[in-house]
C-alpha cells in the first residue's frame, strides 16, 4: 500500500471524540483500541498463570456491593493469600469488580475506569443487579445488564453475595484465566463500536473522549 492509503486508513481509525469541545480535543488521545494477539502458547500459558496468581483488583466501590469487598481484606477472609490485592489506580489493576447496580452516572465512570486499565483485564460482575437489573430492573436510572457496556468474565449472583461467594468467584476467574478463556480486552476492542453505541445511549453528558486511554 502506498503511503497515502496508510494515512487515510489511519485517519479512519482515529476516533472522532465528538463529545469534547473543540479546544479539548488535542488534550485527549484519539487512538482506537486494538486487539492484541496472544504470545506463543507456552509463554502465554505461563503468563496466564502469573496473571491468575496475582489478581490486583481496582479498589473502586461502584455500588452497594462494594461493602462486601472490605471483609475480604481483613483477617477473616484474607484474600491476600490468593495473591489478590486491592489497587488504587486502574493503571495497575487487572480486575474490575462491578459492585452491584450501576446507575447512569456510574456507568460513565465504570467505562472510563475500565478503559484505563491495561489489558489483559478482567471483570467480575457482583450481584443480581449487574446481571439483569435485579430489584432495579425497571428503574429509569440504572442499567440492567452491565455486559452491554463492558465485557464480563465472571458473574456472582445474589443480593448480596457473601464474601465467600466472592472468593469463589475469584477462584472461578482464576480457573478461567489459566484456561485462557478470559479475553475481555480483545473482545472489547473488536466490538468497540457496539459497546460505544450502547454506552452513549445511556450516558447523556458524554464529555469524555470515545476511548479513555
Amino acid at each position: 500500500m502506498d503511503k497515502k492509503n496508510i494515512k487515510k486508513i489511519e485517519k479512519e481509525m482515529k476516533l472522532a471524540n465528538e463529545g469534547l469541545p473543540e479546544k479539548e480535543r488535542s488534550l485527549f488521545s484519539d487512538v482506537r483500541p486494538t486487539s492484541v494477539t496472544p504470545l506463543n502458547k507456552y509463554l502465554e500459558k505461563f503468563l496466564n498463570w502469573a496473571r491468575a496468581e496475582s489478581l490486583w483488583f481496582l479498589g473502586f466501590g461502584t455500588g452497594c456491593g462494594a461493602i462486601e469487598l472490605r471483609p475480604l481484606m481483613t483477617s477473616r477472609y484474607d484474600v491476600f493469600r490468593y495473591g489478590i490485592a486491592p489497587r488504587p489506580t486502574p493503571r495497575q489493576s487487572s480486575v474490575f469488580i462491578i459492585g452491584g447496580y450501576a446507575s447512569m452516572k456510574t456507568v460513565k465512570r465504570i467505562v472510563r475506569s475500565y478503559e484505563q486499565m491495561q489489558g489483559p483485564k478482567f471483570v467480575i460482575a457482583l450481584g443480581s443487579c449487574t446481571i439483569n437489573g435485579g430489584m432495579y430492573y425497571d428503574s429509569y436510572n440504572t442499567i440492567n445488564r452491565i455486559d452491554h457496556y463492558i465485557p464480563v468474565d465472571v458473574y456472582i449472583a445474589g443480593c448480596m453475595p457473601r464474601p465467600e461467594s466472592l472468593i469463589a468467584g475469584f477462584n472461578k476467574l482464576k480457573e478461567k484465566i489459566k484456561a485462557g478463556e478470559c479475553d475481555g480486552m480483545n473482545k472489547y476492542a473488536e466490538n468497540f463500536d457496539w459497546y460505544k453505541k450502547n454506552q452513549k445511549r445511556v450516558i447523556k453528558d458524554w464529555n469524555m473522549p470515545d476511548f479513555n486511554w
Binding site: F46, R51, D78, T89, R91
Partner: protein, 303 residues
C-alpha cells in the same frame, strides 16, 4: 577481559541482591499479615506480581521522560547497589565500589529518585507532584540526621571509603559502630525509617490520601521495573547500613541475617504506628534525630 569479569560479577551480585530484596519484601508482607492476624500472601508473591506486570499486553506512556523515569529509577537502584562493596573481602560482591566512596553512594540514591520524579511528573497526574513534593521534602529532612551520622562515622574511621569503614569494624562485635558510636547509629536508624517509607513515614505512597502518589500513572513494564527496583534498592540501603554501622558482612549469610534484622526495625515500627502528616514527619526528623546526630558528632570528636 578484566572488565568483562567485573561486569559478570556485577551481574551476579545484582541478581542475588534483587532476589534477596524481593524475597525480603515477601517476608515482610508475611510479617505484616501475621501482625494483622492474617496468613498473608506467599513469600514469592512479589515475583509473581513482577511477572504479571511485565506480562501486560498493552502499556501507555505519557512521553519520553515518563518512559525513562522508571529506567532512571532502576538505574539509581542499580548504581547505589553497585557502588557499595556488599561483602567484605569478596571479589564477586565488591561491585564497582572503587569508583567512589560513601558520598558517591549517598548521592547516587538521588539519581533514581530524581529520574523517577521527572518521569512521574510528565505523567501529568496531580497526585504525582504531590507525592514527589512530600517525598523530596521528607528526603531532605531525613538526610540531615543521616548525613550527620555519616559524618560521625567518617570522623570515627577517618575515611569515607566504605571498605575501610567495614575493615575497621572487623574483629569483634564491639568494634561495630553500633557500639563505638551508638548515637550515630540511632540517628541513622531513625533516618532509615524515613528512607524505607514505612509508616509512620509513608507519606509518598499514602494509598488513602494520594493513591500511591508518584507512580499513579505507571503501568505494565514501567511498574514492573519499579517493583524490581524496590527489591534491589531495599537491599542496597540495608547493605549500606550494615556496612556503616553493623560491621559489614564477611559472607552472604551474615549479610542476609544482618540486613534482615536491620529491616525488621523499620517493619516493626511500621506495623505499630499510624502515618504522620507531612509537616509532623518533617518536624520530627528535624528535631530528635538531628539532635542525636549532632550529639553523635560531639561524642566522637570529644570523647
Amino acid at each position: 577481559m578484566d572488565i568483562m569479569i567485573k561486569i559478570l560479577y556485577a551481574v551476579i551480585s545484582v541478581i542475588v541482591a534483587t532476589v534477596y530484596g524481593l524475597t525480603l519484601g515477601g517476608v515482610v508482607q508475611k510479617i505484616y499479615a501475621r501482625v494483622h492476624g492474617r496468613f498473608g500472601p506467599p513469600v514469592w508473591q512479589p515475583f509473581i506480581d513482577i511477572i504479571k506486570t511485565h506480562g501486560k499486553r498493552v502499556s501507555i506512556s505519557h512521553g519520553i521522560m515518563f518512559y525513562l523515569g522508571p529506567v532512571f529509577r532502576f538505574a539509581g537502584g542499580l548504581g547505589t547497589y553497585l557502588f557499595i562493596p556488599v561483602i567484605y573481602g569478596s571479589v564477586v560482591f565488591a561491585n564497582f565500589s572503587m569508583a567512589g566512596d560513601l558520598l558517591l553512594v549517598m548521592y547516587f540514591i538521588f539519581f533514581g529518585q530524581l529520574g523517577m520524579a521527572l518521569g512521574a511528573g510528565e505523567g501529568g497526574h496531580p497526585y504525582s507532584p504531590l507525592g514527589i513534593a512530600r517525598g523530596l521534602s521528607q528526603m531532605s529532612t531525613f538526610e540531615l540526621p543521616f548525613s550527620l551520622a555519616v559524618i560521625a562515622v567518617a570522623i570515627q574511621y577517618d575515611s569515607l571509603n566504605i571498605t575501610t569503614i567495614v575493615a575497621a569494624q572487623q574483629g569483634s562485635i564491639l568494634n561495630w559502630t553500633l557500639f563505638t558510636n551508638p548515637f550515630a547509629v540511632i540517628a541513622a536508624m531513625i533516618s532509615l525509617l524515613g528512607m524505607n517509607m514505612h509508616s509512620p513515614f509513608s507519606l509518598v505512597l499514602a494509598p488513602q490520601e494520594i493513591p500511591i502518589g508518584p507512580p499513579v500513572e505507571m503501568n505494565s513494564s514501567f511498574l514492573a521495573i519499579l517493583q524490581t527496583n524496590r527489591g534491589l534498592f531495599t537491599a542496597a540501603k540495608l547493605v549500606l547500613f550494615m556496612n556503616l554501622f553493623f560491621g559489614g558482612a564477611t559472607n552472604l549469610l551474615i549479610m542476609i541475617v544482618k540486613t534482615f534484622f536491620i529491616y525488621l526495625v523499620s517493619v516493626i515500627v511500621g506495623a505499630a504506628f499510624p502515618r504522620f502528616r507531612p509537616e509532623q514527619s518533617f518536624r520530627f526528623f528535624l528535631k530528635w534525630p538531628t539532635i542525636i546526630g549532632i550529639i553523635s558528632i560531639i561524642f566522637i570528636v570529644y570523647f
